[in-house]
Each structure stands twice: as structure tokens, then as C-alpha cells.
Symmetry: C2
Subunit: 206 residues, 2 copies
Amino acid sequence: MAAQVFFSVSMSLDGFIAPESPEELMGRQWMELQQWVFRQRHFRENLKLGKGGEEGRDNDIVREAYRRTGASVMGKRMFDAGEHAWPDEAPFHTPVFVVTREQRDPWERPGGTTFHFVNDGIESALDQAREAAGDRDVRIAGGGATILEYVNAGLVDEFSIALAPVLFGAGIRLFEGVDAARVALEQVRAEPSSRVTHLTYAVRER
Amino acid sequence: MAAQVFFSVSMSLDGFIAPESPEELMGRQWMELQQWVFRQRHFRENLKLGKGGEEGRDNDIVREAYRRTGASVMGKRMFDAGEHAWPDEAPFHTPVFVVTREQRDPWERPGGTTFHFVNDGIESALDQAREAAGDRDVRIAGGGATILEYVNAGLVDEFSIALAPVLFGAGIRLFEGVDAARVALEQVRAEPSSRVTHLTYAVRER
């Protein structure tokens, strides 16, 4: 099977993936949205959050999302937020292509992550990521606006959503501005874990 | 167990339960959202849509939602839309309490449905529905605004959502205006069928 382009996010039941402002990122709602993943051993080790953690099905799902990924694409806002938050050994361990207007030399981190700064648009970034990923998949890492750009351009093959039993009421919606007339979805898998429901959809163009 | 107050709706992946205007109610997106239920034998028989239909797990889930319901509550808009659309033998077969300012005598239909018109608010309508339902549950039938009023008033015990692999992009969101600070959810069940994912959440007050 050819490499897939996918995203994988946690979403509240009412469709939000982040609070309105970055200052709220450690607020209660966001923590409730993300708490399932912060408990997983693979996630904790990868982000250097400390030893231990759960090793059940949720952990397998987190690890699988990393294992299948041969390269990632992200927007400038996600990179800027992560640049100072990620550990030195950045949690990707693959090439990462950052869509930005900033011109900058590749930034190589210990542990196999190299950030490449792409100035000529989302399609170019994806082409380079596909090339780098080889047989493995390309993950559109985020943020939400970048994911939606790729979805609306018809460039995403698969949605992976951890639907959390949380209501936000306000914030940043994953699908705000989606081109609904273009994207048809097929439900591939829905798997409840103890804390969230892992949903997988394949994209079919109309 | 005491009778539960629940709602049961189909929701798009991006959180919509209806198009913006009633004229679109037979439009493509809404049909895509609802198509799973229109195929079910129990639903077809109950709405007098014709014989036949599927008899698998989706059908069991539809039937169970009707069987557990001892009385329903609905808003005036849903009643107005349904009054001329439902068959003579209205599809409830129980008392239905309509929250409205209209004063009107109870309207008895063949097959066990009687519509009662309640002029003194949502709590009164629910009290009357609980009384009528006895040991069975009370369904907040709709529409979305009425469901949300009950949710925000802390009067709903359970959410039942058939999450459909459809994106609306615009329309009426189930949780628009939800009091997120009040409602805490616990994931009770997530069951994929061939067309949708049936999600059940229990409400816990914060």
C-alpha cells in the first residue's frame, strides 16, 4: 500500500481541539482533553515527561501513530509553540517539514529529528515529506489550521481522532471552515478505550 | 434504577444535527446524516415509511431507544415540524409533553400517542413526563435547542449520539451554547456499526 497522509488529534465531543488562546493551554478543559495521552508510557517517554505510564491499548495506539510516521508536516504556529517546549531530543525522530515564510537552515536535533523550513507552500512541504518518509506514512502534525488546509486541498487520506468525553463550549474547532462539499468520509474503525473513543475515517473525494 | 432522562440524536463528525434552514431538511447532507436510521426496520415501520429494512444491531439500538421511553418531551419547533409530517399513528406511542406558549387541549392520536401542551416551562414538562413514564425513561426528543436547554439546566442524565461519518461545515450545532463549566461527561459505551458509531455518555455534575 502506498504511504498514507494522516492526522491524529484529540477532539472534544463538541469538536474542539484547543482553547481560544495559548495561555489557556494548561487550563482545565485542555488537560481533560489531553489527559488520556499524558498517561501513556510511550508519550511520556517520548516527551521526557517522566518514567512509567500505562501500557494498555491506548499506549499501543499512541505508539503505532509514531511508528507508522516516516515524516511530519507542521505549521509555523505549532513549531513556534513546540520549539521551546519540546525536549532537546525532539519527539519526532524523523524529518519534519515546517510550512513557514521564515527562511532558515535545517535544524538538526539529537535523536533523529531534523526540522526543514519550507517556504513554497503546503503541497511542496507534503511532497518533500512523502519523499523523506519512503514507505512509511506522512503525519500532518498540526496545528488545526494546517490540518484543515491539507484536508480542504484534498491531500489527507485518513483522519484519526481520539474523541474525548469533554465539552469545551468555546475554542478552536478542528473542522471550522471545512469544505464539506468536497470531503466524503468512510468510517474505518471506532474503538473505545477506557477514556476516549479512537475513531478512524478514510477520505473519499466526492 | 430510577428512570433516566436521555436524548438520542444523530450528529455529524463536526457536531451538527440539522441544516441551517428547514428547507434543507431533505438536502444531501442531512440525508447522509440520517440515512443509517432510515434503513432500519423499526424506524421504517414506526414512521410508516414502508415495509422491510435492516434488522441488525443498528435496528436493535433504534428499537431499544423507543422501548425504554415511557414519555417524551419536545420543543414547539419540533412539534410544529412533525405535526403534519408524522403519520396519523404518531411514532411515540406514549405521552408527549410539548413545551410551548400555545394553549391547547391534549391531542390524542391513534396508537397511544397523546400530545400534552405545557405552558409553564421545561421543568414542569419534565416533571409531568417523569410522572407519566413511571419506571421507564424520559426522552428529550428535540429539537437541538430544547435538548440544550435541558442539558444546561442539569436535567439530562445520558447522551446518546449516533456519530455519522459526515461533515456539514454549517448548520445547527448540538452543543452550541453548552454550559461546559457545568457538564462533566463519563464515556459509558462506544459501539461502531457499519455506518455510524453509537456513543453513550453519562452526565456528572461538576
